[in-house]
C-alpha cells in the first residue's frame, strides 16, 4: 500500500476531493489504512500452527533429531508461522469475511468520530474509508448527506466504490470513482452561495 500512496497520487486524490466539494455541499474525507485491525490472534494461530507442524514433523519423521532440536524447532516453527501471517493474503485466509467487514466498519466509525466529520452544520460529511488488507471500502455519510440521497443511490455508490479492489490498480480506480460521484452529489446536494469548507484540509487522526 505504501508504494501506491505516491505524492502524485495524493495530489490527484486531493484534486478529486476538491472537485466534489467545489461542485456540491458535500464534505468528503478520504481515509486509507493498510488494515483495520491488528489480527494479532490470527498471527498467533499461524504461529501455533507452525509450531505444531514442526513438532509433528519432529515426532513422526523417520529421521533422528537431537534433544535441542526437538525443543527449538517448534519455536522456530512458531516464529515462521507468525511471520507468514503478516502477509495480507495469509491473514485474509485465516479471517472470515464477516469479521473482515466488521473490522472495517468499526474502524470507519471510529475515524468518523475522531476526525470530527460530524461537525458540519448541515451534517453533510461523507467518509470514504479504504482498508487495504480487507480489500474493502466503507462509505459512511452523516445524517444530512444520507437523507439527501435516495437509499438506492447510496447502495449503487457503495457497490461502485467496493469495485475498486477488483481493479488491478485500486488507487487509480479510487480517483476515477471519486470523479464519477461528483455529478451525483451535485444533483442531490448542489453547492450553495457562500458555501464554506467546514472541515480542516489536513486531518490528523490519531488512531
Amino acid at each position: 500500500m505504501k508504494k501506491a500512496l505516491t505524492t502524485e497520487f495524493q495530489t490527484r486524490l486531493w484534486d478529486a476531493v476538491r472537485a466534489i466539494e467545489q461542485d456540491s455541499q458535500v464534505e468528503v474525507v478520504v481515509v486509507i489504512r493498510s488494515r483495520s485491525e491488528d489480527y494479532r490472534d490470527i498471527a498467533l494461530v499461524w504461529g501455533i500452527l507452525g509450531a505444531l507442524l514442526s513438532f509433528t514433523y519432529i515426532m513422526f519423521s523417520p529421521d533422528l533429531f537431537e534433544d535441542w532440536l526437538v525443543y527449538c524447532t517448534p519455536v522456530l516453527g512458531f516464529a515462521i508461522g507468525y511471520a507468514l501471517a503478516h502477509w495480507p493474503w495469509i491473514t485474509r485466509l485465516g479471517v472470515g469475511k464477516q469479521r473482515l467487514q466488521k473490522s472495517v466498519e468499526i474502524m470507519a466509525r471510529a475515524l468518523f468520530q475522531k476526525a470530527g466529520i460530524r461537525h458540519t452544520q448541515a451534517k453533510i460529511g461523507v467518509l470514504v474509508y479504504c482498508s487495504w488488507l480487507e480489500k474493502s471500502v466503507y462509505i459512511l455519510p452523516d445524517r444530512g448527506a444520507e437523507m439527501a440521497l435516495p437509499a438506492e443511490e447510496w447502495q449503487r455508490l457503495r457497490a461502485e466504490f467496493q469495485a475498486i479492489f477488483i481493479s488491478r490498480k485500486p488507487t487509480e480506480a479510487l480517483i476515477a470513482q471519486l470523479h464519477n460521484v461528483q455529478p451525483l452529489f451535485n444533483r442531490y446536494l448542489p453547492r450553495l452561495a457562500n458555501d464554506i469548507n467546514e472541515l480542516p484540509d489536513a486531518m490528523e487522526i490519531d488512531l
Binding site: Q10, R33, M59, C72, L76, G96, A193, N194, N197
Partner: protein
C-alpha cells in the same frame, strides 16, 4: 472457525506426507514395542524417552539429522528480524487525503490571481489592510461575544452570525491573540459579491463562571462584500469604524451608526463576515510554553514567488534604484539582520516594549501575550549565541498603500527556557538549534527612503530615542504612529518554514 479448519487441514497434510506406518517416537525403524502403537499414544508418551534413548545410543538405525545449534539460532534471529521488518512495513498510520505541495502551490497561484483581480476591480484593495481589518474584527467578535456591545458589529456580520452568541452562557473572552492568518480562497467570479476565505490560528482566554481557560483555535472565515466596492482608506480599514463618518463602530442591530445615524448594510460598504467554522479547539496549559518539538522544515526548499525577478525589477523602477544589489545589501544588513538580532535579543530578556517601533500592531500584540505568560511563570526564553547564516529573498508585493518584502532567514542558536534562578525548564543549552523563518517586512508606499543608515534605537520620524513608544506604537515625543510602516519598515509577519505556503 476458519482458523481451526486451517489448522486441521495443514496438520493432516503434514501427517499424510509422513510414513505413519513407521512413525513413532524415535522413528526411523521398527523396533519392538513401538511399531503397533498409535501415533498419538506414542507421541504423548514417548517423545522424550526417544530422545533420551537416542542420546544414549539405544537406537542405532534411522538418519540422524545433523544441524549445528548455531544455524538454528541464526534462523530464529532471521525470522525475528523478518517479523520486525514486516511490522514496520505495515504502515499503521492513517493516510488522509490532504493537499500536497503541488496542490498548495496551485492554490497559492489561484489566490495570487484572485488578489490581482481584486486589485484591478478595486484599486484601493490592499492585502495588508484587509488582514488588519480581519484582525480587528476577530478581536471584537470574541471580546464582545456575549456582551451587549456585540450589536455594534452588525454591519460586519451576517444576520446569522449576529445571533451566534444569543444562546451562549454569559462568558467573557479576553486576551484574543491572532498567531497567523492564511489566505485560503478568493472568489471574484460571482456576479454580485466577491469573497475571501481565510484560515485563522488564534488564542483566547474564556472566563466561564470565574474560571479562565486558554484555548488555541483554528477557524475558517468567509468574508464577502458587494462586487466592485472601493475599499476604504487605510485609517478606516485598520480599525472597525463607520465607513461614512469614521467613528468607532457603534451600530444598532439594524446597522445604524450611533454617531452619524447612517445605515450600513452588511457587505455594502465594507467586508462582512458571512460564515465561520471552527476547525480545531484545544485547551492550553502552561507546559505548552516549554514544549520543544523537533525542528521541522529547515531542510525544505525555499518557496519563492513565481515572478520574483519581475517583481524585483518593478520595485527597482518604482524607487528609481540604480541597481538591485545596492538596495538588497543595505536591506539585509540594516533591516533584516538588525531587526532579527535586536528583536530576538529583547525577546530573550522579555523587554518587548523596547522593540515596539519595529513591529506591526498585530505581531506586537500576539507576542506580548506569550511574553506575559513567560513573565507570569517568571521564565525566560533564551536564544543564546544567535547567528544568522543566510538570508534569501522570497517575495515582493506592492499595492496602492503598502509594499512588502518577505525573506527567509536561516539562523542558529541555543534555544532554551529557564527560570529567574537559571534553572533549565525546557530546551537545551548544549544542542545548537538550526532553524529558518519567513519574515515579512512592510512599509507604506509613500514612505520616504532613508538616506542615512538606519538606527533601531531612534524614532524613524523625529529621530528621538525610541525609549518612549506607547503600546499602540506611537512615539512619545512626536506622537507619530510608527507601527503602520508610515516612516520605516516594520516587521509584519513571522511564519515558520513548515507552514509557509507562499
Amino acid at each position: 472457525m476458519r482458523g481451526i479448519i486451517l489448522v486441521l487441514v495443514l496438520l493432516l497434510s503434514t501427517l499424510s506426507c509422513l510414513d505413519l506406518a513407521q512413525a513413532r517416537p524415535g522413528g526411523g525403524h521398527s523396533s519392538a514395542g513401538h511399531g503397533s502403537s498409535s501415533p498419538s499414544g506414542s507421541s504423548s508418551s514417548g517423545s522424550f524417552s526417544y530422545n533420551r534413548s537416542y542420546s544414549s545410543g539405544n537406537y542405532s538405525t534411522g538418519t540422524p539429522v545433523q544441524v549445528k545449534p548455531v544455524s538454528l539460532v541464526i534462523s530464529l534471529l532471521f525470522v525475528i528480524v523478518l517479523i520486525i521488518l514486516l511490522k514496520r512495513l505495515e504502515n499503521r498510520q492513517v493516510f488522509t487525503a490532504a493537499p500536497t505541495a503541488v496542490n498548495r502551490a496551485a492554490q497559492q497561484q489561484k489566490i495570487k490571481s484572485g488578489l490581482e483581480s481584486l486589485k484591478q476591480s478595486a484599486p484601493n484593495f490592499s492585502g495588508i489592510l484587509f488582514l488588519d481589518f480581519v484582525h480587528s474584527l476577530y478581536g471584537k467578535f470574541y471580546s464582545y461575544s456575549t456582551h451587549p456591545e456585540f450589536s455594534y458589529l452588525s454591519p460586519f456580520l451576517s444576520a446569522e452570525l449576529q445571533q451566534h452568541f444569543r444562546q451562549a452562557q454569559p462568558w467573557t473572552i479576553n486576551e484574543v491573540v491572532i498567531n497567523g492568518i492564511r489566505w485560503q480562497e478568493i472568489n471574484t467570479q460571482d456576479i454580485e459579491i466577491e469573497s475571501i476565505c481565510l484560515v485563522i490560528d488564534a488564542n483566547y482566554t474564556l472566563h466561564l463562571q470565574g474560571k479562565p481557560t486558554r484555548y488555541a483555535v483554528t477557524e475558517r472565515w468567509l468574508l464577502h462584500r458587494k462586487k466592485g466596492l472601493l475599499s476604504p482608506e487605510p485609517d478606516k480599514m485598520q480599525t472597525l469604524c463607520c465607513p461614512y463618518c469614521g467613528a468607532p463602530a457603534h451600530f444598532t442591530d439594524a446597522g445604524k451608526c450611533g454617531h452619524c445615524g447612517s445605515i450600513v448594510h452588511q457587505g455594502e460598504m465594507q467586508w462582512c463576515l458571512g460564515k465561520r467554522v471552527v476547525l480545531r479547539t484545544t485547551a492550553l496549559a502552561a507546559d505548552d510554553l516549554v514544549s520543544y518539538a523537533e525542528e521541522q522544515g529547515t531542510e525544505l526548499a525555499t518557496i519563492k514567488q513565481a515572478d520574483l525577478t519581475g517583481q524585483m525589477l518593478g520595485f527597482q523602477q518604482l524607487h528609481a534604484l540604480p541597481d538591485w544589489d545596492t538596495f538588497w545589501q543595505a536591506f539585509v544588513d540594516d533591516i533584516v539582520k538588525a531587526y532579527f538580532l535586536t528583536i530576538y535579543a529583547h525577546w530573550s530578556t522579555r523587554d518587548w516594549q523596547a522593540v515596539r517601533h519595529l513591529l506591526s500592531d498585530r505581531l506586537y500584540e500576539a507576542n506580548s501575550f506569550w511574553l506575559n505568560l513567560y513573565a507570569e511563570n517568571n521564565w525566560f526564553n533564551r536564544l543564546d549565541d544567535l547567528k544568522i547564516t543566510q538570508v534569501e529573498l522570497v517575495k515582493i508585493e506592492q499595492d496602492k498603500f503598502y509594499e512588502a518584502i518577505t525573506v527567509r532567514v536561516f539562523a542558529s542558536c541555543y534555544d532554551y527556557t529557564e527560570d529567574a534562578a537559571g534553572k533549565l525548564i525546557g530546551g537545551s543549552k548544549r544542542a545548537l538549534r538550526r532553524y529558518s523563518e519567513y519574515w515579512t517586512f512592510v512599509r507604506r508606499t509613500n514612505a520616504q527612503p532613508h538616506t542615512a543608515p538606519y538606527s533601531l534605537t531612534q524614532c524613524p520620524q523625529c529621530g528621538a530615542p525610541a525609549d518612549n513608544m506607547g503600546q499602540t506604537g506611537e512615539c512619545g515625543y512626536c506622537g507619530s504612529k510608527i507601527s503602520t510602516g508610515q516612516f520605516s519598515w516594520v516587521l509584519f509577519l513571522i511564519m515558520q518554514d513548515d507552514v509557509y505556503e507562499g
